[in-house]
């Protein structure tokens, strides 16, 4: 399922809303999560999962072609941990 399909389904289930507004809801939710992560904050959605930022410290890497050492800078990467309820649901044990 892609974003446009998600929006279409939600619009169908909410006939009292304009599709345009449903689209803005989805985009606002994703944008809000993104901005929280940009601030280094966490987003915890009980039953669904939690988004956070993980820090990858700087390290000495190697160019695999030349074998040359290269400095790899510190990195911040988004991370998602599936919530308990969703984890059990996707595994089909519940």
């Amino acid at each position: 399922m892609i974003k446009s399909e998600l929006i279409a389904k939600l619009a169908e289930a909410n006939p009292h809303l304009f599709q345009r507004d449903v689209e803005r809801v989805v985009n606002t939710v994703l944008e809000e999560i993104t901005q929280a992560l940009e601030n280094g904050d966490r987003v915890e959605l009980r039953g669904f999962g939690a988004f956070s930022v993980r820090n990858r410290p700087p390290r000495l890497g190697r160019n695999p072609r030349t074998g040359e050492s290269v400095e790899v800078k510190e990195k911040h990467v988004p991370f998602f941990k599936t919530g308990k309820e969703l984890r059990e649901r996707v595994d089909g044990k519940k």
């Binding site: 399922m1 892609i2 974003k3 998600l6 389904k9 939600l10 289930a13 909410n14 809303l17 507004d21 449903v22 803005r24 809801v25 989805v26 606002t28 939710v29 994703l30 944008e31 809000e32 999560i33 993104t34 929280a36 992560l37 940009e38 601030n39 280094g40 904050d41 966490r42 987003v43 915890e44 959605l45 009980r46 039953g47 669904f48 999962g49 930022v53 800078k73 510190e74 990195k75 911040h76 990467v77 988004p78 991370f79 998602f80 599936t82 969703l86 984890r87 649901r89 996707v90 595994d91 089909g92």
Partner: protein, 100 residues
Amino acid sequence: MTGKTLTRADLAEAVYREVGLSRQDSATLVESVLDLMADTLAGGETVKLSSFGSFALREKNGRMGRNPKTGEEVPIDPRRVLVFKPSQVLKDRIDEALAK
């Protein structure tokens, strides 16, 4: 880094502020978005959100694990897990925002 944790209530508040729906509708819609994504994933289908990332399912083989406390061997059954792959856009935005 403010160390805050956002919840559904913060997402609903953002929708209320940005989209101009009622507070009730905003909260309900946020829940519907998450429910629909969860239902889709529980049905075994991937959810791809452009410029954000994709949620996909991965089959894990069973293996022997170990209880780290007792050292006892315990079998881990094959299972299906959810993985989130952030888009390049999301990765770049976060890395740039937090680089100093």
